[in-house]
């Protein structure tokens, strides 16, 4: 009989206060799954919306009240709740709350407007009505979103490579499904979903392979242990270190959408339902940069001089290519996708400053960019022509004359993305670039120069949209749907955050600064 080794079981210490916000979000998602199975069909959508909103709000409350007092490593070091994790998780929960309100929007229809109950049916067709009668409803998107949010929260607080990988998958898998559920332009959406899935699994494989190499090098997957192993290195294993680091970074840079791992971004941003695109652009980017910060500042810190050049090249390429390709876009969603790529480059400049101020700047940038992106995609989902979204830029001509309020909101968000003073975008760029000049060497300064030039290029694009909306003649049958209270709340809140972070950024910058110290 085979005898199994039975070492004494050592129970991991679990600080339930620290993981309470994540438990609430995942619990909400599980309740959502049960609601999907047992609640009557008609009530399902309202119950799901209530469950999601309540879960996210309760998680934020738990984060602010309970988890704040429980900072530290828990679950045998696999979860690290420190300042950056707290800040990013809080921002994630707020942005996810706004995204959920957008996803639940029905625009006066019977089911959520952006999602299809069955991928093979056209919107408004008898087949779609039949599918709805059969019980194929679309309220599953909300539990899926909650699962994804939970994964993102764990992604920013992971303390070792394996936990980070599990979090990466938990956040990605629901996104693959969500991006394929668009009700209009279904083939584009399904294609986007497949592309995202294939490229995403490819990058996950890179991440895992890198993690395996790093485990071989350090004998541990823990971030602190890897950093310690770098300083006390054994020379014959040295060859495993740099490939391991670079492979892991590839996996995370893919989620960030940095060049040359950006090719999925425009297709997926265009194909996914607009509320999902807003959610992805804001929350996935925030979570991925949280993970990248932790890897760069905790796990690979001691070896930074060998991998920094690669990341500098990626940052420069991302800003330049993102900015240039933004100019050539004729579709609003693709335009914002390429602008998201160039923003990823700007944020990378802050990451590369290797300073506490840099961490604070990056976190502030992520919040400022996230809220304005969510609002921008919400407005895109409201501008319609012939039933589907009018995403062609030419269709936006003269929108300011017909729908002044919506156009002014969108113009303001564009100005914030361009980084005009007194908007959140300006403060954010300043917060991310200043530490790179102050603490980076010549490479940091060079990156900032590229960044300023690239933002000048992208500013041209945003202003072209504004000019198009206000100074061109209207054309065609473009109309703006009037959303429900929930979606208005989301749009107005996101815009107000964008204004406040621009005009009165002090408290948010202070909070980011206070919470910028990683726990090693």
């Amino acid at each position: 009989m085979l005898s199994l080794a039975t070492a004494d079981f050592q129970q991991a210490d679990v600080d339930y206060g620290a993981i309470l916000p994540m438990l609430i979000v995942f619990g909400g998602a599980l309740i959502g799954v049960l609601v999907e199975g047992f609640a009557p069909r008609r009530a399902r959508h309202s119950i799901q919306t209530a469950v999601s909103v309540l879960a996210l709000a309760a998680a934020f409350f738990a984060l602010a009240v309970v988890a704040q007092g429980h900072q530290g490593k828990t679950l045998a070091g696999s979860v690290v709740l420190d300042g950056p994790a707290l800040f990013l998780q809080g921002a994630l929960l707020l942005m996810a709350l706004l995204s959920v309100l957008m996803m639940a929007e029905k625009f006066g229809g019977e089911t959520p407007d952006a999602f299809t109950p069955m991928g093979a049916t056209a919107p408004g067709s008898p087949q779609e009505a039949a599918a709805t009668r059969l019980g194929l409803v679309t309220s599953e998107v909300l539990p899926l979103t909650l699962f994804s949010v939970g994964g993102m929260m764990l992604f920013t607080a992971a303390g070792d490579l394996l936990t980070m990988f599990v979090a990466l998958e938990v956040l990605s898998l629901p996104l693959y499904i969500l991006s394929g559920l668009a009700r209009r332009r279904r083939l584009l959406s399904q294609e986007a979903s497949l592309k995202y899935f294939l490229l995403g699994s490819f990058s996950s494989a890179f991440f895992l392979f890198g993690a395996a190499l790093l485990y071989g090098y350090a004998g541990s997957v823990g971030f602190a242990e890897i950093n310690k192993a770098i300083t006390t290195a054994t020379p014959q294993l040295e060859n495993l270190l740099l490939p391991g680091i670079l492979f892991v970074l590839v996996g995370v840079l893919f989620k960030v959408g940095a060049v040359p791992f950006h090719s999925w971004t425009p297709d997926v941003y265009q194909g996914a339902p607009s509320p999902v695109t807003g959610f992805m652009a804001a929350c996935t980017k925030l979570a991925a940069f949280g993970a990248l910060l932790r890897l760069a500042y905790v796990a690979f810190d001691a070896d930074r001089w060998s991998w920094r050049p690669a990341l500098i090249a990626v940052a420069a390429l991302t800003m330049v290519l993102g900015a240039i390709l933004t100019v050539t876009q004729t579709d609003v969603k693709r335009l914002l996708a390429y602008s998201a790529i160039s923003h990823a480059g700007f944020i990378l400049v802050g990451v590369l400053s290797f300073d506490r101020m840099g961490v604070a700047g990056v976190m502030f940038y992520l919040v400022a960019y996230g809220f304005s992106t969510i609002a921008a995609f919400a407005i895109i989902s409201m501008v319609r022509a012939g039933g589907s979204e009018a995403t062609q830029l030419s269709q936006w001509a003269g929108l300011g004359k017909r729908e002044p309020f919506v156009a002014v909101l969108f113009a303001f968000l564009m100005m914030s993305m361009a980084g005009i003073p007194l908007t959140a975008g300006f403060t954010a760029k300043f917060a991310a670039f200043a530490p790179a000049v102050a603490h980076g060497d010549r490479a940091g300064a060079a990156l900032v120069i590229i960044g300023v030039l690239a933002s000048a290029v992208t500013a041209f694009v945003y202003f072209r949209v504004i000019v198009l909306m206000f100074f061109n003649d209207t054309d065609g049958d473009v109309s703006v749907l009037s959303p429900s209270i929930g979606m208005w709340t989301a749009i107005i809140l996101a815009t107000v955050v964008t204004i406040v972070l621009g005009v009165y950024p002090g408290p948010a910058l202070d909070a980011a600064d206070q919470l910028s110290q990683f726990l090693r």
Partner: protein, 121 residues
Amino acid sequence: MLNNPYVPILFMLALGFAFAAGSVGASVLIGPKRYNKAKMLPYECGIQPTPRPEGGGRVPIKYYLTAMLFIIFDVESIFLFPFAVAFNKLGLFALVEMILFVATVFIAYAYVWRRGGLDWV
């Protein structure tokens, strides 16, 4: 150099390539070449390939739900096995964790059951 423990693996790799290339090449070179209609069809073992409906209708895929359910319980039993082996040493904490884990899996199962995933339509 030949003392390197990885040399046999290198030989194995070379042998593998040689066998694959050799057997395909040999059948091209020395195999009989008498074609008929059946030989030109794509290889199918067992049933005939389903004809695609006119106009690209829907193709039912019934098995994937069963396969996915199988994976859920497969993964569950993978985690249950080490737990069962070391049950005596793990104590109450692990028991509660395991109950939570099984309950979570059953939520997914309840979802499949309620949404008609177990009906063979």
